[in-house]
Symmetry: C2
Subunit: 701 residues, 2 copies
């Protein structure tokens, strides 16, 4: 039994960590794991997550079976059954979600820690489909939201087509209005315009929010609108007339989710099924819209886009947390080589292994903080908008959040993808064994780089935002100023650009304030360079389209990423240095903050030198020394830091990553539970009897 | 029909490329695809590969089935049946392999292009198991090699244990000699010492080459030796008494191959089963060895290690070739956005897409050349050794090749792994669809980073080699000189370190000679820095073990990688600038050479500035300009360059990468062939009838 926690919280919140090979590192930790857990999550969230994890742990439907033996069909059935069970537990309780938006993030993350297929299946139905109806529809559509909860219907969100993803304006599905019957006719002109990749559409969904070009009887096209289309009969799950709907097949990951396609052959739906928040059609066939201003209509929709992107930041963070938890527990128990031939030491003791893994641990914390803080920002904006407070301030906030979400999603998903790969390799062969889960994490995280906007395309939103502000300043003398103040430092850019790094020792880098100053210079430099590059392209005769395309590599793309890294580092710095941090946690959190900032900045050293911010050998060297120094300082805290972010063993589901650290025992136990481990192969007579005759078919060549 | 090739070779060597959407790019190519193909592969290799591909294409056993539906058991059965068929075709014809070592590489690559599980299964049995017997055994063991070909036995190679991979010296399986019965007793002390990860051991192998610590009756231990151990009865495939052998379960990839484990409980094998090339035991129990010198014995074994690593370079190259083939054909046919709202352009026209993919195309060519040239170097060394020519010159050559293979394997496997990931993302959602194969490539290439030595650990072999040479020079005044001349330039290192980049325009970079000069400086600088760092660590009281560990990150590791990149770039430069290159191919090959060298060097710009080789903004900028300029020059050649390295469609097996470029048609065809695409799910009543009651289980929480 552990002593009651110093904060006096009840023991329901804690699970005792088992004694074992990891205890050595746990005892060396510079802080109390419980204290950090409570500080990091807050008691409410902790209680809520614990409730979800306990439910999963105690319900046999969520018991893990060796995935090797699940066919695609069986895996999807199991995922669907679990999805139903999630409704029975009411994790997506509507009242709760509205009252505490943060709990949405918690539910997604807990289910995702268990299995992204399940999380995606629930989220696409309840949140994406549901929110599309709620935010794009009106009173007459809200009954469908109730039907989601009773599972009278099951929803999906159909925007992407086979031949159009990023370029949504070029979507080719049509919706022609027929005033004679007061119906829309939904139609796919050919199979290149089939809806594609739609999650839940493959086997389950009865209803889809379908995006189509709205055509009026007079021939006028009003652009993309969303329509509620029934695609299957809920009584039979057979397709509705005119709908060819099917499954797109196996993906690299998330195979418990049924992604599908649909082609519509002149499918008629009632006029009322147009989700009419931004535009409606009268029975007679007149188009009406409440928005006078296209820009305003566009601004209103940016908020919705940001939800998806910010959710993906959170999803990526979960994957990174799981991967570093597995790899660091493995590294603390796996011994290989040592100072003498007899004595072997944990691989975590090697500087190289620390350098490979600890920056990703720091990134998991820094990006987790970003994810939560952006979620709060966006929730506030949504509240303002719901209060009808949709003025210029809100539009500006919407644009700023959009810029942050559009670069935050690429940064988080890439960091997670690279981190998972590094963790896989850092676990050597054992990382390549499917049961240890790093493969699933890599495969399940991968689409985060693509959906809700390809990462490279999304980054342009952020660089465009920054370049637009600069242009506005140069043309109109406007100040750099934004509601969340993320761009305010740019106001001083002429001064900042004149700065040079004057430090001379490693100590100059050991607090994150050091790298932050360098980051501000870096962003100013890249902003100026990108702006010049764009102008130079235009002066040399390029169209706007060409100029922008030819300014991405080494310019706008780098600008967007560097800006976002600065924001992540800045927010984490402020959080870890704030007055609310308990004194006993300050040291470890400040080290994480410095390590993340330095390690990220280290990718840009070439630019720091090239632009003149750095000069001489020392600047770069002291920075590298600082990174390694922080790694060494953090390695004894690593296991305890992982204990704070790792879910229970049954959810983490990785023999080499279990909390008891009994690496080899757990591996053997899991392995011997797999199917037919020791049994001879069913096809043994193919070896024993039917011998090949070497070269017998050579004549056929 | 295409016109006969200018070289007059017969048409058997060519397959006509289908007309279609890719024709536009093919017509724009600056060179003849046939001419490059013939020049790149040579007629003999081309004919040999064509023969293998045709056999695969025409044999229904090698027809592709949607992998989604293959269970682990079925996939392994299919792989075994295909392996038997490979013997029937006699692709591993022993005489052929001995006469033309290059054909070994061709067979591995052709089978690997088809499926790595199959290639690995064959290679582990015939080449790894067979070569181990051939090179570690003696006359009395050679009968087993014949038995491989008649499939009386099936082999595996058992070195790694659960708890020891990289540190092979710490292997704990024992072989005690019992003179009473003239037998060895093979024993696994506990399950941490079980042989693990052994390919073919899971379900198939009857015999294993087992590495164990040789103990003599007197108690003396002579270290690791190889023993031939029968593990299953060939008549039944049931385990032999005392052998607990089984399957380690699902891996991230290569699941057609059965990786296994084995624990030995006092298993007795005849004395003759010791593979006795480097040491033998007399019937009475005396240990005898032909080697007087441990160093010489060690040197002799380095050659064998290099085979595996050089094979992996070739395997990685195959994966990179397949991935860029898929991604570039996709990029040339996938249109998205454009200068006007109506007109969309292929994504290959975007500078960003070119920059993401074309350097990997260049890397595929450069590393392919490295793979072949190292293979030739090693074959020559083997020939010398077989002629008994095992003097100092051969030992030096062995060490040099070992250093190249030990860094070449990490460089090639990482480049492939990163390249495949970039290709996956560059194909957006379609890259995430399993049928397009990028997932399999990523999963199948992944272990190349781990087996035959973890990449980071292997790099130390190379940096140790270079640091040893420097030490030898400083201590004994020895010259930098090696049989393949890869280190000879280091002789001038004091002069080279004084050099500075003096170029001022992009033109200074457009030939690979530019980056090569910079690379030489870089390697000298990193060598000097690593040497200083090591000494500084030692002076501050670190043991040799600690000093080496603390000099890897930013020093020795960077040194090994930079040195290897230089070698790859240098060899490719010499090849592309050699007199044998047909004039019509020079331009495109020289561009590939420059792009690979520049793109690789670009990772080190921070060091170039920091060490004073670069100064001012222009150096870095002109280099980036050159990379983008070369990309733009190569984009119209990309499709033709892919045609040279891509296998036939049936082997490439990727709807979005087919040679006809009919992206969407191929995608639909393949998708509709998957199982139950349009059928409703078997579990439909779980939706239609058994509705969940929202919140019904809430009370249980």
């Amino acid at each position: 039994m552990m002593a009651p926690s110093p904060e006096g919280s009840d023991d329901v919140l804690w699970s005792d960590l088992p004694k074992g090979p990891l205890s050595v590192y746990r005892e060396r930790a510079s802080f109390s794991c419980r204290e950090l857990l409570l500080f990091w999550e807050g008691e409410d969230v902790l209680r809520f997550k614990k409730m979800i994890f306990s439910a999963l742990e105690n319900d046999p439907l969520f018991a893990r079976s060796p995935s090797a033996n699940l066919s695609l069909e069986k895996y999807r059935e199991l995922t669907f059954l679990r999805c139903k069970r999630v409704f029975e537990y009411d994790f997506f309780n509507m009242e709760n979600l509205l009252q505490s938006p943060m709990s949405v993030l918690s539910v997604i993350q807990c289910l995702g820690m268990f299995d992204w297929s399940l999380a995606a299946k629930c989220v696409l139905n309840v949140l994406v489909f549901g929110t599309a109806i709620y935010s794009s529809g009106s009173q007459r559509h809200f009954k469908y939201i109730e039907k989601i909860y009773t599972m009278e219907i099951f929803g999906c969100f159909a925007l992407t087509e086979v031949s159009h993803g990023s370029n949504t304006k070029a979507i080719r599905t049509t919706a022609h209005y027929d005033p004679a019957t007061e119906e829309f006719i939904i139609h796919s002109p050919d199979f290149e315009a089939a809806k594609f990749w739609v999650g839940n559409m493959g086997k389950t969904a009865t209803h889809a929010v379908v995006f189509a070009q709205l055509h009026m009887p007079g021939g006028q096209c009003h652009g993309l609108h969303a329509f509620l289309v029934q695609i299957r009969d809920p009584k039979t799950l057979l397709p509705m007339p005119g709908v060819m709907v099917g499954d797109i097949g196996k993906k690299l990951g998330q195979n418990g989710l049924d992604n599908g396609f649909a082609m519509f052959h002149k499918v008629r739906i009632p006029r009322q099924n147009l989700l009419n928040r931004t535009g409606d059609v009268t029975p007679e066939g007149t188009y009406v819209t409440p928005f006078k201003d296209v820009r305003q209509r566009f601004g209103a929709s940016l908020g919705t886009l940001s939800w998806g992107r910010i959710a993906i930041i959170g999803m990526s963070v979960v994957n990174l947390k799981l991967a570093v938890s597995i790899a660091l527990r493995f590294s603390a128990t796996r011994c290989q080589f040592g100072p003498t031939e007899e004595e072997e030491i944990p691989v975590l003791e090697y500087q190289l292994q620390q350098w490979r893994l600890l920056p990703y641990l720091a990134a998991a914390y820094a990006l987790d903080h970003l994810s939560k803080s952006l979620f709060i920002d966006l929730s506030r904006l949504q509240q303002d908008l719901r209060r009808g407070d949709g003025g210029t301030a809100q539009a500006e906030l919407g644009r700023e959040i959009h810029a942050l979400a559009s670069a935050g999603k690429p940064l988080a998903s890439w960091t997670a993808q690279q981190g998972i790969q590094e963790c896989r390799e850092a676990c050597g062969g054992h990382g390549y064994l499917a049961m240890n889960r790093l493969g699933d994490l890599r495969n399940d995280n991968d689409p985060n780089c693509t959906y809700e906007g390809d990462n490279n395309v999304l980054l342009q939103q952020t660089s465009n935002y920054l370049l637009g502000l600069l242009e506005h300043r140069l043309q109109d003398g406007a100040r750099f100023k934004s509601p969340l103040k993320t761009v305010d430092f740019l106001e001083a850019y002429p001064t900042i650009l004149g700065q040079k790094f004057t430090g001379s020792s490693m100590a100059d880098w050991l607090d994150s304030s050091g790298p932050l100053v360098a980051y501000q210079w870096l962003v100013c430099y890249l902003l100026q360079e990108s702006h010049q590059k764009l102008n130079q392209e235009k002066r040399s005769g390029s169209s706007d389209f060409e100029a922008r395309n030819n300014s991405q590599v080494y310019y706008c793309r780098s600008l967007a990423l560097a800006f976002m890294e600065l924001i992540v580092a800045q927010r984490f710095h402020e959080f870890t240095h704030g007055p609310g941090v308990p004194p006993s946690l300050r040291a470890v959190l400040e080290r994480l903050s410095a390590l993340y900032a330095l390690w990220s900045l280290n990718q840009h050293v070439a630019v720091l030198y090239r632009g003149g911010y750095f000069s001489g050998e020392q600047a770069g060297k002291t920075m590298e020394d600082a990174i390694l120094h922080l790694c060494a300082q953090l390695k004894d805290d690593a296991v305890a830091l992982v204990d704070v972010i790792a879910p229970p063993d049954s959810v983490l589901n990785s023999p080499i990553g279990r909390a008891d650290g009994e690496l080899y025992k757990n591996l053997w136990n899991a392995m011997l539970q797999e199917s037919r481990v020791l049994e001879r192969a069913s096809w043994w007579p193919e070896f024993a009897v039917n011998k090949p005759v070497d070269g017998s078919l050579k004549a056929k060549l």
